[in-house]
């Protein structure tokens, strides 16, 4: 009986059928993943690459990363600080000018987002010596920002574990005091309540 079923599948029509079903399932999955990864529509197609190449520091526009949880998305005051002295041209700058003129907030859509049950704080990460690009990728090659990787719990935890592992990279002199500190930090950084409350 089962053999017959396989025989049926072995016929050309059966194979095509299997192929079509597989294709539909696969394309559905791919489409879903693609939808989830697609950068959202931003009100202004902000060219990060241009600004980075001009030598503007990340923290100039996102200063909150140094002090607290959120780096902040710049207000139009910040944009206008420079752009009032620069010719309004191209497709995007007039949009900015319009926002400023109407005293309207720019509805930036945050991209590097964690769900609201995750309480991510930028400050300790910067204090621990991480660079922006470690998580956010090479922004100098991006126009509109996109996440370089899927941000999920495994990704966070991997880093938390790697950074607290007692290995030559973290503890070059194999100092037991450092090892103990790393161990304590590891316990702390893999604690659920570090991020979830």
């Amino acid at each position: 009986m089962i053999k017959k079923f396989f025989n049926m599948l072995n016929q050309p029509l059966g194979r095509i059928g299997v192929f079509i079903v597989a294709l539909v399932v696969l394309s559905g999955v791919v489409w879903g993943i693609a939808q989830a990864q697609k950068p959202p529509e931003q009100p202004i197609q902000f060219p990060h690459n241009l600004h980075v190449r001009l030598g503007i520091q990340c923290l100039y526009c996102h200063p909150g990363a140094l002090r607290g949880p959120s780096p902040g998305i710049p207000t139009e005051t910040k944009c206008w600080g420079c752009h009032r002295q620069i010719a309004i041209q191209g497709t995007e700058l007039p949009k900015l000018a319009a926002y400023v003129k109407n005293n309207q907030p720019i509805d930036w859509v945050p991209v590097a987002q964690v769900p609201d049950f995750v309480h991510f704080v930028h400050r300790p990460h910067i204090a621990a010596g991480l660079n922006c690009e470690d998580c956010h990728g090479d922004v100098s090659n991006m126009t509109v920002y996109q996440n370089p990787q899927v941000i999920n719990m495994g990704w966070c935890l991997n880093c938390h574990r790697a950074k607290t592992e007692n290995n030559p990279q973290n503890n070059p002199t194999s100092d037991p005091a450092v090892a103990a500190k790393l161990e304590a930090l590891r316990v702390k950084l893999t604690d659920c309540s570090t991020c979830h409350y």
Partner: protein, 727 residues
């Protein structure tokens, strides 16, 4: 405060946003679907994700506690006590905590409105210019004696402004009234201080430094005068000295939240308090071998014990406690002052304090410090004056009535006939932020800001040993299209023109407040001082007010008190019902908390009932009446009838029933409306000798009506009462 802060649309983020992300937790970050509205111009001192804190004043009751409000990106998130403010020293009560639910209440009056007909919920929105025009017309087109102002209990800047305005216009001074003041019997306290010590003022009871407190009905841990300050003092009474734990005895016919904390609870019969006080005084004098002062010479211990339904031995025991204590303190309050002989009780209690010589001493009785910007304590209107006011309205002489900060239609006893009187007034303008009963009976509602959106100051009546002016500032940009009443009045005055306009030449509310504050710059002993008004105002906002660093309580001599003669008698009662009615202010929701859902859901401390009105009946009495828990009974007094569900309360006299005041709203938003019953409907307008409402002087009858309405209780009845009750 930068007025340009835009309100970020947090709803999208925290509300629907949170909802969306929670559903899709398995599928990665969904928050990206949430759009956020950033600042257009972010204030310099703000950082994304970090909070900004503002000092202001709690406006939930008139105590004037200082608040620190946590805000983030233009939203007020949490209120905390202001540690600097001497009234509350960083503490708050439940009402102060939920004040944000008033601020963001979904039922707030969002725009100035005109009502088609009084009582109708069909309204037309107006713009503020025409609203100001309406006020201006009302002020200019009526004769000064045709204008009346009714204001709330808090002696704030607006009251000063209206006082100035009426003075300049030649109108009658604004009437200040509030249900809390009515149940506190402030006029009685002030009158008693005057009677006994020769100086009018709100007495200050130094609970913290006493070591024995006799409270005659005073619910000082609940809503009475300045509850947060008094709770702090109570804490000091119990635990400030590790070797001594202050002792506390409560006399009342129904165990209140305060009474539950007492070491001894004496269920004296309602109306007998004066006799009991005098009897104790006599016994104390005898125990201390003092020649019996005139004040207590008429006291008859046996008669008092009989009248109070308390054994003579108990009285003797209490008197010996009082006589031997180092710092005994007796406090009059609550229902004891709400009898027909309330003033006698207050007088007698003050005399009892004088007898043990603790007037003007630590742990004794003082007069509360006089607040800055004022010469003396100005008490709110008592019921007598309110009744006169209602009569004035009834006479039709008043053409326009302004109401702000009070909801008299709900708070005053129905028997006073305020609604009827209001119908005689041609134009009623309410400044209420909420659609309360009074606003519903108004022609116009020009909503004031919520307290957390307003500028202002408030003179603190009592609670602190120093003289305090609590300061208020907006912590967020007004959430709705409301306008400060002071600004409306000032603008209207300018629009109306004439002498009034030149008398009140202020650009806005802030300028008026500064003009008032300027007198404080040179004041000595201030918590801070400044060379000029702008700096002073900045400090005033930063610290949340201005207060003296010295003890400003008025220490008096009690010697005269002992020479007064009392002709004490038991109180008189109205009606011929079987039960004494004891209305009390619900400790948690109080008179105006019913529109805050979290406050509604906070359990009453003694009964743990939420969201409704109950009537407390002794289980023995209930058995005789054939009622059980949750049976609806109708309670009838000579003034009216209400219905409420029965709560079998084991700690109430069998001849007394008690009902909380605070529910029974017919308006006031979705959380309050149509919920419970209002015991004020049962009260007559009889007063005590000081003109305060004799709210505890009703006798009522109770009848089962055969319905059942389940009360929501936090406690599980099963584990507390009856067969399976645990202790």
């Amino acid at each position: 405060m930068d007025k340009k802060i835009s309100r970020r649309d947090f709803l999208k983020v925290a509300g629907v946003g949170a909802a969306t992300t929670a559903v899709l937790t398995g599928c990665g970050p969904a928050s990206r679907l949430v759009t956020r509205e950033p600042y257009t111009k972010m204030p310099e001192y703000t950082y994304n994700g970090l909070s900004t804190y503002y000092a202001t004043t709690c406006r939930e009751c008139s105590a004037g506690c200082g608040l620190i409000v946590r805000t983030m990106q233009g939203r007020a998130l949490k209120t905390e006590g202001n540690q600097n403010n001497p009234v509350n020293l960083g503490k708050t009560c439940a009402r102060g905590q939920t004040t944000l639910e008033g601020l963001y209440n979904p039922d707030r009056v969002t725009d100035p409105i005109r009502r088609d007909s009084r009582g109708s919920t069909i309204v037309k929105k107006m713009d503020w210019d025409s609203a100001i025009q309406v006020v201006a017309d009302a002020l200019s087109k009526n004769r000064p004696d045709e204008i009346a102002f009714l204001m709330g209990l808090a002696p704030d800047h607006l009251f000063d402004l209206v006082t100035d305005l009426t003075k300049a216009a030649g109108a009658a001074a604004p009437v200040r009234f509030g249900a809390l003041g009515m149940f506190e019997a402030r006029a009685t306290l002030v009158q008693a201080a005057n009677d006994m010590f020769g100086q009018a003022g709100l007495p200050f009871f130094d609970i913290g430094n006493a070591d024995l407190v006799f409270s005659f009905g005073a619910n000082f841990l609940e809503t009475w005068l300045s509850p947060v300050a008094q709770t702090r003092e109570y804490s000091q009474l119990r635990r400030s000295n590790p070797n001594r734990r202050g002792y506390f005895v409560q006399f009342e016919s129904r165990m209140s939240q305060t009474g539950a904390k007492a070491d001894e609870w004496i269920p004296a019969k309602p109306g007998s308090e004066a006799l009991v006080v005098l009897a104790i005084g006599r016994l104390v004098a005898e125990a201390n071998n003092i020649t019996l002062p005139t004040a207590f010479s008429n006291a008859d211990v046996n008669a008092a014990a009989a009248a109070a339904d308390v054994s003579v031995d108990t009285l003797k025991h209490l008197a010996s406690l009082f006589a031997s204590a180092g710092h005994p303190l007796a406090i009059p309050g609550g229902a004891a002052l709400g009898g027909s002989n309330g003033l006698q009780v207050a007088d007698a209690v003050l005399a009892l304090n004088a007898l043990v010589g603790n007037v003007g001493k630590a742990g004794g009785v003082f007069l509360s410090p006089v607040a800055p910007l004022t010469d003396a304590y100005h008490r709110p209107a008592n019921l007598k004056e309110m009744s006169d006011f209602v009569d004035l309205l009834k006479s039709g002489k008043i053409k326009v009535l302004f109401v702000h900060g009070v909801n008299p239609v709900f708070e005053l006893p129905k028997s006073l006939g305020l609604e009827d009187a209001m119908s005689k007034v041609l134009q009623i303008i309410s400044f209420s932020s909420f659609p309360d009963e009074t606003a519903l009976q108004s022609d116009y509602v020009f909503p004031d800001h919520h307290g957390l959106e307003s500028w202002g100051y408030q003179k603190v009546a009592t609670g602190s040993s120093s003289s305090v002016l609590s300061g208020a500032q907006p912590v967020i940009v007004p959430f709705f299209n409301t306008k400060a009443t002071a600004d409306v009045l000032l603008a209207a005055v300018q629009k109306a023109g004439g002498a009034l306009a030149s008398a009140l030449k202020f650009k806005d509310e802030l300028e008026y407040i500064q003009s008032k504050l300027s007198s404080l710059i040179s004041e000595p002993d201030g918590f801070f001082s400044a060379p000029e008004i702008n700096t002073f105002t900045a400090f005033f906002q930063q610290y949340g007010g201005w207060w003296k660093t010295t003890d400003n309580r008025v220490a008096l001599s009690g010697s005269d008190a002992l020479n007064k003669t009392f002709n004490a008698s038991a109180a008189q009662f109205n009606g011929d019902g079987d039960f004494f009615l004891l209305p009390f202010v619900a400790p948690v929701i109080a008179e105006a908390g019913a529109n805050k859902p979290h406050l509604q859901e906070t359990a009453d401390p003694t009964t743990t009932v939420m969201w409704n009105t109950w009537v407390e009946i002794n289980p023995d009495t209930a058995r005789q009446l054939g009622v059980q828990n949750d049976d609806v009974v109708s309670i009838t007094s000579s003034a009216g009838t209400v219905e409420a569900s029965v709560y079998l309360y084991p700690a109430i006299r069998p001849d007394t029933i008690a009902m909380p005041f605070g529910q029974g709203h017919t308006a006031y938003g979705q959380f309050a409306q149509g919920r419970g019953a209002n015991p004020a409907d049962l009260l007559s307008n009889s007063t005590n000798e000081a003109g305060d409402l004799a709210f505890a002087s009703m006798k009522v009858s109770v009848k089962k009506i055969g319905k059942k309405r389940q009360l929501s209780r936090l406690e599980g009845v099963l584990g507390i009462y009856g067969k399976f009750g645990q202790q």
